[in-house]
Symmetry: C2
Subunit: 344 residues, 2 copies
DNA sequence: TCGATTTATGCTAGCGCTATCATAAGGGCC
DNA sequence: GGCCCTTATGATAGCGCTAGCATAAATCGA
């Protein structure tokens, strides 16, 4: 394409080069870059041609300096949602790329206390324009308030509105909890088990509430609980507690796929056939569900879509536009091989 | 702490504020910020005190503008195992955080051709100072050359040196392949199977070579192969091909944990007991190995450490310092429940 | 005693943009 | 034909840093 191969590009072209090439002032080039309507069509054409010719790309740093923005969006996550990390990141990047933002990631400690300070330090240091906060981090008590105080726009993925967050992408986790209970009840299970998420994670409590309410609605059914920490070992431990009960549950709902894997592990170890003698349902619908044997029935949370919606909302906020319509993700149960009729 | 609660922080403090507070010029403050030795100890102390007092943090944007740097490091990945992604990110961030850099992630398409253009566009757009490129992306033919041409410092994680990459963090995958073969042979397996990675991924070919060489060294042993794409479905398909053979292998080595999960899945589906009738070894040593039932024997690649070493090397390069000593990761096989004596 | 060094610090011109203010052309109106 | 309004564009002051050059003060040998 380039007819002058000898021309050595000494450094990136700047807005001055474009202005010179198009025979206008940089002010006008700047107008074009910022899509200001006040530019003559012909002039705009010339400038755009020059931009293409020179392969000019405005410097994010210079632009950021002038606009007091970094064009960076931060993603806070911890190892409890590592399985869905990829879909979340892809969801965000799909949007940020075309909006001129980049995604910067920040893994944070799982302990609620440490996490808040850690996140605040990150925000100060990185100067991100905004934050996407998926669960379970979004459920950390006090985080929202801390971010609010630090004046960073943040959009959370959560089951319920969280006071303090500028925006929340909702997922119907209470309904999903009920859905799982319904599914197990329909299969004839009466003694149900719940491996819950951490007590201080709001979304986990939502799922729990939905699940327990539905069980309570059904005469003759009841549920036993064990708390987990969203990681594998705690899933194993919780399953052991439940299956050690004198009258153990025949259907167990785990608050995420990783803990559900722990339940399957315990069942296998004890020779409890799944789903013949024990049904198991996970949560998240992560790729892990397919890899397990038997394949895990799980509730699909569309993290990619939710994250994209969050990024959309966040960018709108950052740029002072009206926020897009609220997005509420509907969760669906994806049936696989770990649920079946209650043993007789 | 703050004795004047009424003082409203209208905006971030700048270097001018610090200079004023310490009674020096911004030039001197700048010297302190950049750790120049040419500053009087007492003056330095005063300035540092002022910085602490004002909670001043230099603006990355302004500093980047002046230094022509972004202080951003890019991670190109093409993820098959989100758990591995998580450890890589943690490894990098552990370093970047204290070095004043941030990590920006870029998921790239799986198709080699599309990936190169995609990565180049990302580099131009984001203006990262450097790139960390883990496998399998690092093995994409032509990527190194393209990055070289674009003049972006890049450090790859790879099994073999890759021409074009400024630096490579090596892992002994050939030796690891041999190690796996050895393990299976020692267990008495003579008919071995290999679910290989994509043909154009160098590291996969290394593992394959190491594995096959070791098998060839052993009289009476042989190996059959099936190619996979590093994802779960291809692992399933490959396992099916291998187990459909008239004389199927009794020990299978899969080039990553995810495909190994596929092998386990097929074995379960066909009622082939693991490890009684079939031994399976994975690769990566990701947390997934623990979650599977039976727990997967796998080769541990210390991705976190490797990524940290890559970041270290990259930053040294960016800052023009001499590179740290080359890092070569030793891979070890982690025995779990999927390998056992060959069936008699 | 004095210029030559060394050491410590300041002044200021960028870095590549944005956006305020000013200005220069047209165009319609009476 | 003069005046006001609209539309298109330019000159330029920052944004918050870095770093080259200049300068002032302290050190030192002869």
């Amino acid at each position: 394409m380039d007819a002058s191969p000898g021309k050595q590009r000494e450094s990136e072209p700047t807005i001055d080069d474009v202005a010179a090439a198009a025979g206008v002032s940089i002010r006008t080039v700047s107008r074009v870059l910022n899509k200001s309507p006040k530019v003559n069509a012909e002039t705009r054409r010339r400038i755009e041609a020059a931009i293409g010719e020179l392969r000019f790309r405005p410097s994010v740093r210079a632009r950021g300096l002038a606009m007091r923005r970094s064009f960076l969006i931060g993603l806070i996550h911890n190892d409890r949602n590592a399985l869905v990390l990829d879909s979340i990141q892809r969801g965000i990047v799909a949007l940020t790329a075309e909006r001129g933002y980049e995604l910067i990631v920040h893994p944070t400690p799982a302990q609620a206390g440490a996490a808040i300070d850690d996140v605040l330090a990150f925000v100060e240091r990185s100067r991100v324009d905004g934050l996407v906060v998926p669960p379970p981090v979004s459920g950390i008590p006090g985080l929202a308030a801390a971010l609010e105080k630090a004046q960073v726009p943040a959009v959370a993925l959560s089951s319920t509105p969280i006071e303090g967050f500028a925006g929340v992408i909702l997922s119907e986790e209470r309904a999903a909890g009920a859905l799982v209970a319904r599914h197990l009840l329909d299969l004839g299970h009466r003694r149900l088990g719940l491996v819950n998420g951490p007590r201080d994670v709001a979304s986990a409590q939502e799922r729990r509430a939905g699940f327990l309410e539905e069980v309570a609605r059904h005469a003759g059914a009841d549920a036993v609980e064990a708390e987990g920490e969203y990681d594998f070992p705690s899933g194993v431990a919780a399953a052991e507690r439940l299956l050690d009960l004198p009258d153990p549950p025949t259907g167990i709902f785990a608050a995420n796929d990783i803990m559900a894997a722990g339940v399957l592990k315990v069942a296998a170890r004890r020779g409890v056939a799944v789903p013949a003698r024990l049904s198991v349902v996970g949560f998240d619908g992560s790729p892990l569900t397919r890899m397990l044997t038997p394949a895990l029935t799980s509730v699909l949370r569309p993290f990619g879509d939710m994250a994209a919606a969050a990024a959309e909302q966040l960018i709108a906020r950052i740029e002072g536009r009206e926020a897009p319509p609220p997005y509420q993700a509907t969760l669906a149960i994806v049936l696989a091989e770990t649920t079946g009729p209650a043993p007789t």
